[in-house]
Amino acid sequence: MRLTFIILGLITSILAVILAILPLYILSFIPAILAILFGLLGFFKSKKAHKPTHTTQLIFLLTIIAFAIATYQTVYSTTEVGDTEQLELREESSLEDSMNELEDIEIIDSDIAD
C-alpha cells in the first residue's frame, strides 16, 4: 500500500510539473492536489513502517515546483495575440489581387451603386 501511494504520488507530481509548463497550466492544480494527498499518505505509511521518506520528500518538492509555476503563469500570463505580420501581408496582397478580380466580375443590376 505504501509503495502504491508513493508511485501514484510520483506520477501525479510529475504530471503536475509537465502541465504547469504547458499553456494548459490551469489543469496542473488537479494532479498537484492529488500528489499532495498521495505524498502525505505515503509519508505517514513510511513513518509507521519505519521506512525512509526520501521519495515522499521528492513528491512534495515536485508538487511545490508545479504549484509555483502554475501560480506564476496564472498571475502573469497575458492573452496576447502572437505575431501577425505575415497575416497582415497576406491580407494586403489578397486585397490587391481581389481588386483586379472584381474588375471582371458582372455586378447584378440591383447592386450597382446609385
Binding site: 500570463s77 505575431d83 481581389s98 474588375e103 455586378i107
Partner: protein
C-alpha cells in the same frame, strides 16, 4: 389610383426593410474564442470581423474580412492564422468574391469563389500544399452550380444581421444556403427569445438563436446557439457550439465603427 398609391407605399416600405441598416464600412468586431479542455474553458484565439469599402470601376462593394489568430502562448503548439474574405454588395449582401485561406498548425488550404449571379454559377479554386508539384501547391479548378440566394459563410453571417429579427416570434426559423467546400449546406436559425447577457461591453439584451446545420453533422447536439444584440446593429455577442472534438465559445471583446 388610391389602390395604386397604397401598393406603391407598401412596395417602398418592403424595399426599405430589405436594406442593410445593421452595418457599414469601418466596423470592427473583436471576439475571444475559447475551447473546452477537460471541463475548463481556455482562451485559445482572437477572432476579428471587419468591414471596409472597396471601389471597382462598376460598383462599390463591401469587404467583409474575418481573421482568427491564436494567442501567443498557443503558437508553439498549434498556430492558427486564418483569413476569410467576402466582397459583397453593401445593400443586399450579395457576394461576388470569396476567399478563405487557412493556416492551422501547418495545414494550409485556400479556397476562392468567383460568383456569377446571372448564370448562377461559382468558379471555384481549391489549393492545398503538395510535395508532388513543383510549385508546392495542388490546385483544383471547378464550376459549381448554385441556387438563388446561396452565400458563403461570411456573407451569411452579415446577411443574418440585416434581417428584421425583432419581428420574428419565438420558434420562428429561417434557412440559409451556404456554399462551403464547394457544397451547398443549409443552415437554419431558430428564434429562441430574448436574453440579457453580461458581456465585456456591459449588460446587453440579445436575441437568442439556435443554429442547426441540416444534413451535415459538423455541429453536434442541440446546444449550438448564437446571441445577437437586440438593437439595430444586431452584432454577434456570444456563440456556443459543439463539434466532434469538443465544445467552444465565442465572446465579444471589443467593438468599433458601429452604424447605429
Amino acid at each position: 389610383m388610391q389602390r395604386l398609391l397604397i401598393a406603391l407605399l407598401l412596395l417602398t416600405s418592403l424595399s426599405i426593410e430589405a436594406q442593410n441598416n445593421a452595418f457599414i464600412a469601418g466596423e470592427k468586431l473583436t471576439f475571444t474564442a475559447s475551447y473546452n479542455m477537460s471541463g475548463l474553458m481556455t482562451d485559445l484565439a482572437q477572432v476579428t470581423m471587419e468591414t471596409s469599402e472597396v471601389k471597382t470601376s462598376s460598383a462599390t462593394l463591401l469587404r467583409l474580412k474575418g481573421t482568427a489568430t491564436t494567442y501567443s502562448k498557443w503558437d508553439s503548439f498549434f498556430k492558427i492564422r486564418d483569413l476569410y474574405e467576402s466582397y459583397v454588395s453593401p445593400k443586399t449582401v450579395t457576394p461576388y468574391l470569396y476567399k478563405r485561406e487557412i493556416n492551422e498548425g501547418g495545414y494550409y488550404k485556400y479556397v476562392k469563389y468567383n460568383y456569377n449571379h446571372k448564370t448562377r454559377t461559382v468558379k471555384s479554386v481549391l489549393r492545398k500544399k503538395s510535395k508532388n508539384f513543383e510549385s508546392g501547391f495542388w490546385d483544383r479548378n471547378s464550376t459549381v452550380t448554385i441556387t438563388a440566394g446561396t452565400r458563403d459563410i461570411m456573407a451569411t453571417l452579415y446577411q443574418l444581421r440585416t434581417l428584421d429579427i425583432h419581428k420574428a416570434p419565438v420558434g420562428a426559423s429561417d434557412t440559409f444556403t451556404v456554399l462551403f467546400d464547394n457544397k451547398e449546406t443549409k443552415f437554419s436559425f431558430t428564434m429562441m427569445g430574448k436574453e440579457t447577457l453580461n458581456t465585456a461591453l456591459g449588460k446587453m439584451q440579445c436575441y437568442k438563436l439556435k443554429l442547426n446545420v441540416i444534413g451535415n453533422d459538423v455541429l453536434k447536439g442541440n446546444s449550438n446557439f448564437l446571441w445577437l444584440s437586440a438593437d439595430q446593429n444586431k452584432i454577434p455577442v456570444f456563440a456556443k457550439f459543439k463539434v466532434a472534438v469538443g465544445s467552444g465559445e465565442l465572446r465579444i471583446k471589443d467593438v468599433s465603427g458601429l452604424k447605429n
